[in-house]
C-alpha cells in the first residue's frame, strides 16, 4: 500500500520529499531506484492519468464547448487541478509601476504541473550557466554545462525526448543517442522552414518529451542504472508499459497511455515499483522541522482532508514544492533560532525570482487557405522551432538587450474550438449565411502563431516574502509577490514582436493584430509563462546564495531543494528539463553522502 497517511506511514524514511512534480518526481525516482526509502508529500489529491485523461473527448462533450472559465483556466480538458486561483489558497500580488501583476499558476494534484505542461525540453547551453561571465549581468551558476550534461543525457533517455542534433551556438544536444526522432513537419512548418532562413533565422526540429517511437527498454536501463540489476528490471518493465505517441489529442490533457512525460506516468510508477516509495496526498506542508543538532528532522503539514496538523520525519528533507512554494515553506519555518526563516542566513530566500519573457503574435497566411483535408495533429505541436540566433549581436551590444529568446511556432488544421472562428470580420467583411460557411472552410487552418520565450536578468524589484496578515484556509501565512520586468526584458519583447512581423511578411501573411512596439505592453505579465524559478538560488558561497552546487542549503546540511528555486538565472530554455537534470544530480549527491554517513 504505497499511498499512506500520517497514521499508516511506514517510517523510518531516509528522505522526505515535498512535492511530486518534475523535481520531486525525479528525486523520488533516483533515490528509490538506488534503494533509499522515501516518503513523498503532495499538497493536492491523488491523480491517475490512465483513467482521468480526457484524450479523445471533443469540445461538444464539455460544458461551454470546453472554454476557459475561472474554474478551469486553460479550458475544461486541461489536466490541471488548480490554476491561477486555488480556492482557499490566496496569495498577495503587488502591482508593478505600470499596474501589472504577477500571477501564479499552481497545481494541486499528484504530479503537479507536469500533468499539463507543454513538454518542451530544451537544454541550457554553456552560456546559460555562466551569463555574468559572458556579459557582466546577473548571476553565474556555480556549475557549468559540463557538470549538468551527463544528467541531461540521463533524463532524456529516461523520459523520452524527440529532437534533432545541432551544432548551433549554445544549443547543445547529447552525444547522439539520447534523442528520439522528431515528428514530420506539417505544411505550416514547411512554410517557416522555407522562408525564415531568408531572414537569417534558423529553424530546427523541436524538442519535446513525447515518445515518437517506443523506448529501447533493452539498452536504456543498463545505461541509466549500471551495476543495479534490480533498478534495470524495474525500469525496463515501466518502459514497456509506455505506448509511443498516438499522434492525436493534446498533451496538456494528460496522456492515458504514457506517451509523453508527466511525473505520474514516468517517474512515480517505477519509484513505486521498487517498494521504496510511500506517498501522502492532500498534505499541505508548511514547515521544515529541526532537531537540536542543527539538522532538519522532518516536515509539518496540514492534512487537507481532516484539517489536522501532522509531523513526519526522515534523515534528509528535499523541497520540490515549486520555486515559490519551497521559498514559502522556508520563510514560514521560523523559530527563535531562525527568526528570518530556515536556510536564510544570507537573507536571500525569496530573492532573485525569475520568469520567462513572453510575447506572441498570430498571423493569417493566404498560401495556407483552402488546403485539402489534412491531419495536422502530429505530436501536438512544436515539430519545429527557432532557437536564439543572435548570440554574437548580444555580445557586441548591437541589440538593446543582452540575452536571447527562442520562438515556439504552430499552425495547421487543429480540432475546431470555441474560438476558432471568432472575430473573423477583418477577413470576411462581416459575412453571415452561406458565405460565412464558405469563409470558414477557406480560412480554417490558415492561421499560425509565433510565441517568443526569452531570458530574464534577475533584478532587485522581483522577490517574494511572507505577507504579514493574510493566511490561507489552513492558517498558513501566504506569499506576497513583488514583480517588475526590467528594461532588458521589455525591449526583448519588442524585438520578438518585430521579428514575428518580419516572419509573417516573409511568409506572405498578415498579422491578426498590430505589432506591439510599446515595451511595457509587448511583454506578457509576470507568471503568464508559468516558468517561475529562483528564490532559493544556488551559488558559490553562503553569503551570496541559499543553496550550493548540489542544491543543498548552505545552512542545513541535510536540507535540499529539487525544484526551479535553485536557478540563479532563467535562460530562454524552458526550465523543466533542467529541473529534472539538477534533481537527479542532487539525488546522486544525497545517496553518496548518505552512504558515507555524512547526512
Amino acid at each position: 500500500m504505497p499511498f499512506v497517511t500520517a497514521s499508516t506511514q511506514r517510517g523510518p524514511y531516509d528522505v522526505i520529499i515535498v512535492g511530486s512534480g518534475a523535481g520531486g518526481g525525479q528525486a523520488a525516482y533516483t533515490l528509490c531506484m538506488e534503494g533509499a526509502r522515501v516518503l513523498m508529500l503532495e499538497a493536492g489529491r491523488r491523480y491517475t492519468p490512465a483513467t482521468e485523461s480526457p484524450m479523445f473527448q471533443t469540445p461538444d462533450m464539455a460544458p461551454l464547448g470546453g472554454a476557459d472559465t475561472p474554474d478551469k483556466n486553460k479550458g475544461f480538458y486541461d489536466a490541471t487541478i488548480g490554476g491561477w486561483d486555488v480556492p482557499g489558497q490566496p496569495y498577495v500580488s503587488v502591482p508593478d509601476q505600470w499596474g501589472g501583476y504577477f500571477t501564479w499558476w499552481r497545481a494541486r494534484m499528484l504530479g503537479g504541473r507536469t500533468n499539463h505542461w507543454g513538454r518542451i525540453s530544451l537544454r541550457n547551453g554553456p552560456y546559460d550557466f555562466k551569463p555574468r561571465s559572458r556579459d557582466g549581468l546577473g548571476l553565474d551558476w556555480p556549475i557549468g554545462y559540463d557538470d549538468v550534461a551527463p544528467y541531461y543525457d540521463k533524463v532524456e533517455l529516461l523520459i523520452g525526448v524527440y529532437g534533432g542534433d545541432t551544432s548551433l551556438e549554445n544549443t547543445p544536444a547529447g552525444p547522439g543517442d539520447t534523442l528520439l526522432p522528431p515528428p514530420k513537419p506539417i505544411v505550416s512548418d514547411h512554410l517557416l522552414m522555407k522562408r525564415a532562413p531568408r531572414l537569417g533565422i534558423p529553424v530546427l526540429p523541436g524538442r519535446r518529451a513525447v515518445l515518437t517511437r517506443a523506448q529501447d527498454h533493452r539498452t536504456i536501463p543498463g545505461k541509466l542504472h549500471p551495476g543495479n540489476p534490480r533498478a534495470q528490471k524495474v525500469l525496463a518493465e515501466a518502459m514497456k508499459k509506455r505506448s509511443p505517441c498516438l499522434w492525436a489529442t493534446p498533451c496538456g490533457r494528460g496522456c492515458a497511455v504514457a506517451a509523453n512525460y508527466q511525473s505520474t506516468t514516468v517517474h512515480i510508477p517505477p519509484a513505486l515499483a521498487t517498494g521504496n516509495l510511500d506517498i501522502i496526498t492532500d498534505a499541505m506542508v508548511y514547515e521544515v522541522s529541526m532537531g537540536k543538532n542543527g539538522r532538519a528532522n522532518g516536515v509539518r503539514f496540514v492534512d487537507a482532508t481532516t484539517g489536522r496538523h501532522e509531523h513526519v520525519t526522515g534523515r534528509v528533507v528535499v523541497l520540490g514544492a515549486s520555486a515559490y512554494e519551497s521559498a514559502r515553506i522556508l520563510l514560514n519555518s521560523k523559530s527563535g533560532q531562525y527568526p528570518n526563516g530556515l536556510a536564510n542566513s544570507s537573507g536571500l530566500v525569496g530573492r532573485y525570482i525569475l520568469d520567462t519573457v513572453g510575447s506572441s503574435v498570430s498571423a493569417q497566411i493566404p498560401l495556407l487557405e483552402s488546403l485539402p483535408p489534412l491531419n495536422d495533429d502530429a505530436a501536438d505541436g512544436l515539430q519545429v522551432y527557432v532557437p536564439w540566433w543572435l548570440y554574437k549581436e548580444n555580445l557586441s551590444h548591437k541589440l538593446p538587450f543582452p540575452r536571447g529568446y527562442h520562438i515556439e511556432y504552430g499552425g495547421g488544421k487543429q480540432m475546431p474550438s470555441v474560438g476558432t472562428f471568432a472575430g473573423l470580420e477583418w477577413l470576411t467583411g462581416g459575412s453571415y449565411g452561406r458565405q460565412f460557411k464558405e469563409d470558414a472552410r477557406r480560412y480554417y487552418g490558415s492561421f499560425v502563431y509565433f510565441a517568443g520565450r526569452g531570458a530574464m536578468v534577475p533584478n532587485d524589484n522581483s522577490y517574494v516574502e511572507i505577507d504579514p496578515k493574510v493566511k490561507d484556509r489552513f492558517g498558513i501565512p501566504v506569499l506576497r509577490i513583488h514583480w517588475q520586468w526590467g528594461d532588458y526584458e521589455q525591449r526583448q519583447a519588442v524585438h520578438m514582436q518585430q521579428t514575428f512581423g518580419a516572419l509573417t511578411e516573409a511568409m506572405g501573411g498578415r498579422v491578426t493584430s498590430p505589432i506591439v512596439t510599446d515595451p511595457v505592453k509587448a511583454v506578457s505579465p509576470g507568471g503568464y509563462m508559468i516558468h517561475e524559478v529562483g528564490g532559493t538560488v544556488m551559488g558559490a558561497d553562503a553569503r551570496s546564495s541559499v543553496t550550493n552546487r548540489w542544491s543543498q542549503t548552505w545552512d542545513v546540511p541535510n536540507l535540499f531543494v529539487a525544484d526551479g528555486g535553485v536557478f540563479p538565472y532563467n535562460a530562454d530554455k524552458n526550465p523543466t528539463l533542467t529541473i529534472m537534470a539538477l534533481a537527479w544530480r542532487m539525488s546522486d549527491h544525497i545517496l553518496d553522502r548518505m552512504r558515507r554517513r555524512e547526512i
Binding site: R45, T51, E52, F56, Q57, T58, D60, M61, P63, L64, G65, T69, P70, D71, K72, F76, I81, G83, D85, P87, P90, Y91, V92, S93, V94, P95, Y101, T103, P183, K184, I186, V187, H190, L191, K194, L246, W247, A248, L371, P372, P373, N375, D377, A378, K413, M415, V418, F421, A422, E425, G430, Y432, G433, R434, F436, K437, A440, R441, D467, K469
Partner: protein, 220 residues
C-alpha cells in the same frame, strides 16, 4: 433605426441581466480596511453553480448539466432564427439550430462565469433590439420575418467597422452572436465534418502532408 427609447431599453436590459447571476464567480479583495498589504489579494471564491475546480473530465455532459438553461420559448425561437441566418443548411452540412446550437448558446449565456455573464447582457439586450427593430419595421417578431427581411435588419449590423454610429451596440451584439453560433456549430461532429477535419484519431505513425501538396505550394 434605433430611436432613443430603444437605446435606453437596451442599456437597461443589459444592466438588468447582470445582477441576478453576479457574485457567483468573483475576485474579492478580502483585506481588512487598513491592512498593511499594499497589493491586490488574489483569492478565488468557488462558484456554487459552476462546475467547480475538479470536474469529471471523462463523461460527456448534456447542455445545462451544471446550471439551468434560462431562455424562454420565445427567446429560443429568436435564437434559432438568428443561428440559422448565420449558419444555414447548405449542400455540405445542416443548419446551426439542427445540431443543438441554440442549446449551446442557452447554456453559454446561462453560465455563472464573468465572460458568460457579460455575453448574457450583450445577447439579451441584442435580442430586445433585434425584435424591436423587426416589429418596428415589419410588424412581426424577427423569427417570423422572411429571410430578405431578416437580412435587411442584419446587413446594417453585420460588420462593426461599417455599422453606423447609432448601431454600434447592436453590431457588437451581432458579432458576439455570430462568434457563439460558430463556436457551437464547429465544435459539433457536423461542424467538424463540414470543415473536413480528419484529426483526433489514433494513428500508428504520422506521415505529414503529401509531397505533391508541398510541391504545389512551392514548399517541397
Amino acid at each position: 433605426m434605433t430611436d432613443r427609447r430603444t437605446t435606453i431599453k437596451l442599456i437597461m436590459a443589459a444592466a438588468a441581466a447582470m445582477p441576478a447571476l453576479r457574485a457567483r464567480a468573483n475576485y474579492r479583495d478580502s483585506l481588512e480596511p487598513g491592512a498593511s498589504s499594499p497589493g491586490e489579494l488574489r483569492q478565488f471564491e468557488p462558484t456554487m453553480q459552476g462546475y467547480g475546480p475538479d470536474p469529471d473530465l471523462i463523461k460527456a455532459y448534456e447542455k445545462g448539466a451544471f446550471w439551468p438553461l434560462t431562455l424562454s420559448a420565445e427567446q429560443r425561437r429568436l435564437a434559432a432564427a438568428l443561428c440559422d441566418l448565420i449558419i444555414p443548411a447548405d449542400e455540405h452540412s445542416s443548419s446551426a439550430s439542427a445540431v443543438g446550437v441554440v442549446d449551446f448558446i442557452d447554456e453559454w449565456i446561462s453560465a455563472p462565469y464573468p465572460q458568460q455573464l457579460e455575453d448574457r447582457g450583450t445577447v439579451l439586450s441584442g435580442f430586445t433590439w433585434i425584435d424591436g427593430d423587426a416589429r418596428h419595421r415589419f410588424e412581426q417578431p424577427f423569427a417570423k420575418l422572411t429571410e430578405a427581411q431578416q437580412r435587411a435588419i442584419c446587413d446594417r449590423v453585420c460588420d462593426i467597422s461599417r455599422a453606423p454610429a447609432d448601431l454600434q451596440q447592436p453590431a457588437r451584439f451581432f458579432a458576439t452572436y455570430r462568434n457563439l453560433t460558430a463556436a457551437g456549430f464547429y465544435t459539433t461532429q457536423a461542424g467538424r465534418k463540414d470543415l473536413q477535419y480528419i484529426g483526433n484519431v489514433a494513428l500508428t505513425h504520422f506521415d505529414g502532408p503529401p509531397v505533391e501538396l508541398l510541391k504545389k505550394l512551392g514548399l517541397a
